[in-house]
């Protein structure tokens, strides 16, 4: 076993690592939220008189106390930091009680008296889309939060050429990120007038914008620092930033440090979930097995607030036909406001939903045509230089779908095992099934946003190195990957490099650490910074010693013949003695992407990754109990920087994906989340899982300076459909709705 490298492992395994709630400041106050009791109402009065006099209470804060903007958002500014006139969801916060202790703040919450005028609520996106529906966000003018489409070829003409037309509707579940650490923020006003915020969040720069907007301050006056975060998975973006903004608001109003630490119950009630989708497909096929056209309509429930719904649903739009050649496409995608708890970013970001559907649909099609699911995929899958449905030619990197699929199916012995499948054999007590799914995924943000990142390498006079990037440690090992990339480029041991505690005031805004872009973007910036630094050192050696450096290896600087010029430390001493700073600022700008909203055409992403996963399982014919027996995954990630951590992404993603297929579901009652804690929301545990096999496929990416692409999300996005396909072969039943529920026989 190759040992894993992590810069933060020692602190985490000894309990020394300090997460936000582990910090305390002198005179610190605690704030807790009052959540809306109903999903839709007009607020007539929030009476805080009695609550404000409760023991220990310092202040009760409502929307009226907000000096800046009440509403903010990354795309549409529709999210009230505190609800003002209208309640749109049971996750809305109406007031914050700030007290000397958390217990005192909690005790005062029931003393806030509300006068509300309940309004009709809309919980079904289809009803919310109706023309006469009441508007949830009147400023937006419609309940359709956003719309994307693809128009490629001519689906009407194609319909007449099809030998077979299949139709199917799929639904996907609303699920919880279930990061183990609930939201937490600690804000304090520094003597220099800066509002400093520590928090559990994965987008410090967005958090800074939320804080600055709420306070009505400039960005320079807010500094967000990140400390270890107990899981995010896309879920510590908006809600986490909002909690930070509220803590800063309370700190501003009370002039004392304020901590807001959510209980699991508060977190589950308020935090955004994964968008549930309804996906209606119509697919036309030729008898020879080729796909002629796809018509698809997707409705995503975005809940009461936009969050990043337009971006999530855009990825679903681009990838609505899966990794297949489809010459004629008619795709309509709607993000729809409802009074449900809102939905937003979640590992996978719009791809797990469409993969759930399309990876089952291709198998339904294959079976109807009398083809094997394997041959059907081989015939239709995207290959080198293929043109995607958005008219992007896949010619800038290796298209490795066939390779990842072959590796997984060989490892799991698919062709032999599929003969053993039970298909609900009435004579059997246990039903066996095997299934797989494949995908491609556009990397990083694509045409969703501006995509660049930076890194600073600052070599100290003793030769030790400080590194920072605009990428955030979400727990995935981002800092470790950056250190390894810098160490390799500079020919140093990783222990010579320290990753600086990140701060939004140190490094330029590098965007969010989502979209599996950490290693790709941050690693690219780190590589470029290291190369600039080497140029600086090389120039110094040339100018002052007349020697031509050629490579940096094992702490030494070598010439072209491989002879040692000097040690790293000697070179750094030379720089400082000659008034040259061994300091480099590196930038990686993602190659240009393009998008035409009208047609849904463009080079949506600058590079793509390819993956395949297969699952074996067994179903107890009597009880319906599903047992996973084996899971195998292969993903082409360009280059594995830290292989053991890469495997951790494989196993963790597959586990989360299996939960998505089998057990996880947030149900709502009148728009409110019914599960209050982990006893009512079932994430998979160690005993629910089989042994997993991770096959790392490396086709170095020419567009990536470090040659690495990414791995965080691909590992999650095809596990659930692989399970659904295995379930079909075990039971003979197609499970088009999530999560899979076996009825007792």
């Amino acid at each position: 076993m190759q040992k894993a490298f992590r810069n933060d492992a020692f602190a985490k395994v000894t309990g020394k690592a300090k997460y936000t709630d582990d910090y305390a400041l002198p005179q610190m106050l605690h704030a807790v939220p009052l959540h809306a009791p109903v999903a839709s109402a007009r607020i007539q009065k929030i009476d805080v008189t009695k609550a404000a006099t409760m023991p220990g209470v310092v202040r009760v804060v409502t929307a009226r106390d907000i000096p800046g903007q009440v509403k903010f958002g990354q795309i549409i500014k529709d999210y009230p930091i505190l609800a003002q006139e209208r309640i749109c969801s049971t996750g809305d916060v109406l007031a914050l009680v700030v007290a000397e202790s958390r217990a005192e703040a909690l005790a005062a919450i029931p003393e806030i008296k509300l006068e509300l005028e309940e309004m009709p609520a809309l919980y079904d996106p289809e009803k919310a889309m109706a023309k006469d529906a009441i508007l949830i966000n009147p400023e937006h003018g419609t309940n359709i939060c956003n719309y994307h489409r693809v128009r490629t070829g001519d689906t009407q003409a194609a319909e007449s050429q099809a030998d077979l037309i299949i139709e199917e509707t799929f639904t996907t579940a609303r699920v919880e990120h279930a990061y183990l650490e609930p939201e937490c923020a600690l804000a304090h006003l520094r003597p220099d007038g800066v509002m400093e915020v520590l928090g559990s969040m994965q987008h410090p720069f967005s958090t800074r914008r939320f804080v600055a907007s709420t306070l009505g301050w400039e960005l320079k006056d807010v500094e967000v620092k990140t400390v270890p975060m107990g899981g995010g998975f896309g879920g510590k973006d908006d809600t986490a930033a909002i909690v930070c903004a509220r803590a800063a608001l309370c700190a501003h109003l009370t002039r004392r440090p304020v901590k807001i630490c959510y209980s699991r119950e508060m977190s589950m009630r308020e935090s955004y979930k994964r968008h549930p989708y309804k996906i209606e497909y119509r697919m036309g096929l030729k008898q020879d097995g080729s796909i002629v056209y796809v018509k698809v309509r997707i409705v995503a429930d975005c809940g009461a607030y936009c969050s990043v719904t337009p971006w999530v649903t855009w990825r679903s739009t681009v990838q609505c036909c899966g990794c297949y050649n489809v010459p004629n496409v008619h795709c309509d995608v709607y993000g729809v406001y409802t009074n449900n708890v809102f939905t937003g970013a979640f590992r996978g970001f719009g791809s797990p939903q469409v993969n759930w559907a399309i990876e089952q649909l291709v198998e339904i099609a294959a079976e109807k045509l009398g083809m094997s699911e394997l041959d059907f995929r081989k015939k239709n899958m995207l290959k080198q230089d293929s043109i995607t449905i958005t008219q992007q030619k896949l010619d800038t990197h290796k298209v490795s779908l066939q390779e990842v699929m072959d590796k997984v199916l060989l490892e799991i012995d698919y062709e032999n095992k599929r003969k053993r499948c039970s298909f609900g054999d009435p004579k059997a007590d246990k039903w066996y099934g095997i299934g797989f799914a494949i995908s491609y995924r556009g990397m990083s943000l694509g045409a969703e946003g501006v995509d660049f990142n930076s890194a600073i390498i600052n070599v100290q006079p003793d030769g030790s190195v400080l590194l920072e990037t605009g990428i955030h440690e979400n727990g995935q090992g981002a800092e470790s990957a950056m250190i390894l990339i810098a160490a390799k480029e500079l020919g140093l041991q990783p222990n010579r490099i320290r990753y600086r505690m990140p701060s939004t005031s140190n490094i330029p805004d590098g965007g969010t650490t989502v979209a599996s872009r950490g290693t790709l973007l941050g690693g690219g910036a780190t590589t470029n910074a290291a190369r600039i630094l080497k140029d600086i050192i090389t120039e110094a050696l040339q100018k002052h010693q007349g020697q031509k450096a050629d490579s940096f290896t094992d702490g030494m600087i070598l010439d072209a013949k491989g002879s040692v010029i000097c040690s790293w430390e000697e070179a750094i001493s030379l720089c400082y003695s000659q008034q040259i700073y061994p300091y480099a600022f590196g930038v990686f700008q993602a190659p240009r992407v393009s998008w035409d909203e009208e047609l849904g055409h463009g080079n949506a992403y600058f590079t793509w990754v390819y993956g395949c996963q297969a699952v074996e399982l067994e179903v107890d014919a009597k009880t319906g109990k599903i047992s996973l027996l084996n899971m195998v995954a292969a993903h082409d990630l360009g280059k594995a920087i830290n292989p053991e951590m890469v495997k951790g992404q494989f196993y963790g993603g597959m586990t989360m994906g299996a939960g998505y297929g089998l057990s996880e579901e947030i149900t709502l009652q009148d728009g409110a989340v019914t599960a209050t804690n982990f006893h009512q929301y079932r994430v998979l545990r160690a005993t629910d899982l089989p042994e997993m096999t991770a096959i790392i496929v490396e086709n170095p990416d020419p567009t990536s300076p470090s040659k690495a692409k990414g791995i965080g999300e691909p590992t999650l996005e095809i596990t659930a459909p692989a399970i659904a396909n295995a379930m079909y072969r075990a039971t003979g039943i197609r499970f088009v709705d999530q999560p899979i529920k076996m009825r007792k026989q």
Partner: protein, 158 residues
Amino acid sequence: MIIVNGKSYEIPTDQQDKKLSEWLREDLYLTGTKIGCDIGVCGSCTVLVDKVAKRSCKLKLKEVEGCQVVTIEGISPSDSELHPLQQAFIDAGAIQCGFCTPGMVLSAMALLHKNHSPSRDEIRQALKGNICRCTGYQQIIDAVELAARTMYPPNPEE
């Protein structure tokens, strides 16, 4: 009296009903004990009570009177050295966000007290009460196996 990581503490009468987890974190500043659910189902707050893994959020101080409590801060031989189980977690890549790690290490420790060479299924059973949302558990199980081999090397003559 409660002994925590070898040190004795007298508990005032008015503190008897306090949660062990809260006391460890807020009074003793032993913040390695994490709170994930606070209802005893996630395992993040696991500590050892007389060598048995227990959820500290479900225990009141009066319930551990006279007991030896060990938290994650109490298992390393010194400030700079690691327990073999901790080293195994690092080497096997069992750590991601780290929030479950203290509880996982202590649940594994309790298992290894009783069983020096657990099977992978036995390890899964022992860690069933601890949620990890990052790792899919596989490398945590690898780590416990690795630690068992380091702590209790198989006798080659057997």
